[in-house]
């Protein structure tokens, strides 16, 4: 018997769940502020060419190794004879200093951000597409379909993500990947995006499968079946709308994780290919040059943390807004370093 429990109050009439969520989100100022922060970073990165041409007067791949610049009247070398690059000048040229190749770090940071964000976005898209397909089919059809798809997820799952990423990265770095429909050439940004996208599929597909599994037993699905509706209609018409909030919640989470994994892979040399900068490759190069050039670590590192933090805080607020009664809070926030508990059967 389900008499309404105290605490569930009926919201104002005529308002869909989305509108309500939006209202809640709009009221969560921290979430919006950090979402804005991320957007700000993204816009800044998109404006990279403007900064490069108008302010820094150099491109992301232009080397200035043996040049000197004037700072406060003094001539300074961009890189020292032993290869130590100049630190932040806080002037229009080499605002954040130079890297070993005498390239303007600020310019590269913005171009690198474009690449990092692009990879993050594409990887998230790939993850979500595959995960929704696999998760819903496995959960809805059950049986053999579920068995096969679940084993597939298990395999990706048990494969240590970083090892899988690096191995695939190395394997595909020269020849690229021919998927029949699309051909990813080596050096293409889509390649790391594809790898990262695949690695994360189980993290999303498993909870989705679990949710579909429990939705499948709900009476409104029975109702649709009683009406004689086909499976695909039921999937698209009845199930999908109920998964959207989960999907939406996962998007920022995966975006954040994809950007982080890109950095990790680039650090291990299997991410973005030269000379395309990305925050990860810049960090990796910077770490090699510490301690003399800590700015090479701090600049991309902090930028990365700020962008990912923006996404994460926003995602956190989004989660609360979409489901204040916290069904999704149980969806564990994931880092690429770990794994997520499998949705426990029988709970």
């Amino acid at each position: 018997m389900t008499a309404p429990r105290p605490g569930t109050k009926s919201p104002p009439a005529g308002r869909g769940p989305w509108l309500l969520a939006w209202r809640r989100l709009a009221r969560s100022r921290t979430a919006l502020a950090f979402g804005g922060l991320f957007l700000g970073v993204a816009v800044l990165c998109l404006l990279a060419p403007v900064y490069a041409h108008r302010v820094a007067h150099t491109g992301p791949n232009e080397n200035h190794i043996t040049e000197t610049i004037k700072i406060g009247g003094k001539n300074e070398e961009v890189t020292s004879p032993t290869g130590v690059p100049i630190g932040p000048t806080w002037h229009s040229r080499f605002f954040l200093g130079a890297d070993a190749n005498g390239r303007d770090v600020a310019v590269r940071l913005l171009y690198g951000g474009r690449n990092s964000l692009e990879i993050g976005a594409v990887a998230t898209l790939i993850t979500m597409l595959l995960a929704v397909l696999i998760g819903t089919f496995a959960g809805y059809f059950g049986g053999l379909t579920d068995g096969l798809l679940s084993r597939l997820l298990d395999v990706i799952w048990a494969f240590p993500p970083v090892l899988l990423g690096v191995a695939l990265g190395v394997a595909l770095a020269v020849g690229g990947l021919d998927l029949g429909v699309v051909k990813l050439t080596s050096g293409s940004l889509l390649l790391p995006a594809f790898i990262i996208g695949v690695v994360f599929v189980p993290y999303v597909a498993r909870p989705l499968r679990g949710q579909v599994l429990s939705l499948r037993g709900r009476e409104f699905i029975d109702a649709a079946r009683v009406q004689g509706r086909g499976h695909l209609r039921i999937l698209a018409g009845e199930l999908l709308p109920n998964l959207t909030s989960t999907i939406v919640v996962f998007v920022p989470l995966m975006l954040a994780n994809a950007i982080l994994l890109e950095a990790g892979l680039s650090y291990l040399g299997a991410g973005v290919q030269d000379p395309n900068p990305s925050w990860g490759t810049m960090l990796a190069e910077g770490i090699r040059l510490t301690p003399g050039a800590i700015h090479l670590v701090l600049a991309p590192g902090l930028m990365l943390v700020i962008a990912v933090l923006g996404v994460n805080v926003f995602g956190d607020g989004l989660r609360d807004a979409l489901d204040p009664r916290a069904v999704h809070r149980a969806i564990v926030m994931r880092s690429p370093r770990g794994t997520q508990p499998p949705a426990l059967e029988g709970s």
Partner: protein, 526 residues
């Protein structure tokens, strides 16, 4: 001298949609050994009163004014520490849902003894456990000694409710607040628990605030009745007086709705529409259905009653082929449903629709009413342009207005939701409806209106109903014939009036006897 005095109690919650005045100026008292029933429709503020007295609404962010005193202790002004001392010892509460109200990962004995030790620090663990056994035994739990080691999920609903009761009584409180303690139970268990409470009151002078929306139960146990509506007390008085001669129009309405509907005049049935033959279903050895043969005739209503777990839902799921039986067949208009291919099944499905028990679970929470109704129309190949008009028509037939088309299920009341469920079934233009407890989640007034609607639709379009319920009174009011089920078997079948006045099977007799009755109602049989 009274045990509990409440004066001008007001509780409001701040929510996103503004303040909700859950309790709006309530004054009453409870004397020692007195049972005061608090009745009212869902959402009228009954639970809030109970929880506030226990001091449990504070942390929900409620604003509370007025006064409440229990044996001279100020309940509303007390500090959290003082309240801890009072809770469990001077006043105790039994909650509505026994499953969720017990800690799932602790043994029930531990949960009872924990309370004892919290109030009587000198009692040892073993002694407390011993007392828990005793309490459970007294609460009527069989084999209490071994059951103290059970986890809540290993007990039946009734037993869990008794554990709650044993826990509440463990420190012999003066006041017991019981929030719908029997709603989750079937009639037989309900009768047992009520008997226990009565006995307890005699023995220990226990004062009780008994929250319920079931007037039958009230008549059974209450000395006085408080009727709540929209946070206010609309009527209070001696139980007999209120039940016999309600003064407030709202109370009158409630009573009228509760009163059993007269049995229907038998009608001439058509030919058989839906038949089952020796239908059996087994889940891992448990026989949920065990050779059920039933017939639903054209234009008639067949009521199926049975206690929880009797196999009613299983039966219905087989009828509409949501589940494949392990044995037996179902025929619809002579066609075999059980072995039909998917393609053959489609036309049958349209003609044989279902109304679900839980109206909110059976409506997709992410879809508007219009979409929900249109999905049935689309299958009938109604042109898209007509969907909206047809959906509005359907709503009108079930007594809703076109503006409801825009709403999401959660924006509808329980009764409205069930109407949408019925409208959805109608959208396929069926010949027969199977209804799984269509009104049991609704409160009495709404329930009556939905049953009326079903009767009207049957008049209008000659539908046949197979209606399943655990509530004898509902079945009685709407059925032409009734079947009684228990443990997967049909015990007896017969025309409604005949079955109620002269039940053949002893289980049917017991079932009828356990039904609480309002004063003045004549028991129809036994």
């Amino acid at each position: 001298m009274s045990l509990l005095d409440v004066a001008d109690l007001r509780v409001s919650f701040a929510t996103e949609a503004g303040d909700v005045r859950a309790v709006d100026g309530v004054s009453f008292s409870v004397a020692r050994g007195e049972v005061v029933a608090l009745v009212g429709e869902s959402g009228s503020g009954k639970s809030t009163v109970g929880l506030t007295l226990m001091g449990l609404t504070r942390r929900l962010g409620a604003r509370i004014t007025g006064s409440a005193a229990l044996e001279g202790n100020d309940l509303l002004g007390a500090s959290e520490r003082e309240l801890q001392r009072l809770r469990g010892r001077l006043m105790a509460m039994v909650f509505q849902d026994p499953m969720s109200s017990l800690n799932p990962v602790q043994k029930v004995g531990w949960q009872i003894s924990e309370q004892i030790r919290a109030h009587e620090p000198r009692v040892s663990g073993a002694q407390a456990l011993e007392r828990a056994v005793e309490l459970m035994d007294r609460a009527g739990i069989p084999q209490a000694r071994s059951r103290v080691r059970a986890y809540p999920h290993e007990l039946s609903g009734g037993m869990r409710q008794r554990v709650m009761l044993a826990m509440a009584l463990s420190c012999e409180p003066g006041l017991l607040i019981a929030d719908e303690p029997t709603t989750a139970l079937d009639v037989t268990t309900q009768a047992q628990i009520l008997a226990q409470l009565r006995e307890l009151r005699e023995r220990t002078e226990l004062g009780m605030l008994f929250i319920t929306h079931d007037l039958g139960v009230v008549a059974d146990i209450a000395d006085r009745i408080l009727v709540m509506r929209a946070g206010q007390l609309v009527e209070q008085g001696e139980a007999d007086a209120v039940l016999r001669a309600p003064r407030d129009p709202y109370t009158q309405n409630m009573l009228a709705a509760y009163a059993p509907r007269p049995a229907r005049s038998p009608r001439t049935p058509g030919g058989p529409l839906l038949e089952t033959h020796e239908l059996s279903v087994a889940f891992r050895g448990i026989k949920a259905l065990d050779g059920v043969s039933l017939t639903l005739n054209e234009g008639e209503t067949l009521g199926v009653v049975g206690e929880s777990g009797a196999g009613k839902t299983t039966l219905i799921r087989c009828l509409i082929r949501l589940m494949d039986p392990t044995g037996g067949t179902v025929r619809f208009r002579g066609q075999d449903v059980t072995h039909a291919k998917r393609r053959e099944l489609r036309p049958m499905r349209r003609e044989l629709q279902m109304v679900f028990q839980d109206a909110s679970a059976s409506l997709n929470p992410r879809r508007r009413v219009e979409w929900i109704l249109a999905s049935g129309l689309r299958l009938r190949e109604v042109p898209r342009a007509q969907w909206r008009a047809r959906a509005a028509d359907l709503l009108e037939r079930v007594g809703l207005r076109p503006e409801h088309l825009e709403r999401f299920p959660h924006e509808l009341s329980g009764g409205e939701r069930q109407r949408v469920g019925i409208a959805r079934a109608l959208s396929c233009d069926p010949r027969a409806l199977v209804l799984d407890e269509p009104v049991s989640s609704l409160d009495a007034t709404v329930r009556a209106r939905v049953l009326e609607l079903l009767a009207r639709l049957q008049e209008e379009s000659g539908l046949s109903y197979l209606l399943v319920s655990h509530d004898l009174m509902i079945v009685r009011g709407v059925s032409d014939r009734v079947a009684v089920m228990r443990r997967g078997r049909v015990l007896e079948t017969g025309p409604t009036e005949q079955l109620f006045s002269a039940p053949q099977h002893e289980y049917t007799q017991a079932l009828l006897a356990a039904c609480p009755k309002l004063p003045g109602q004549v028991r129809s049989a036994v």
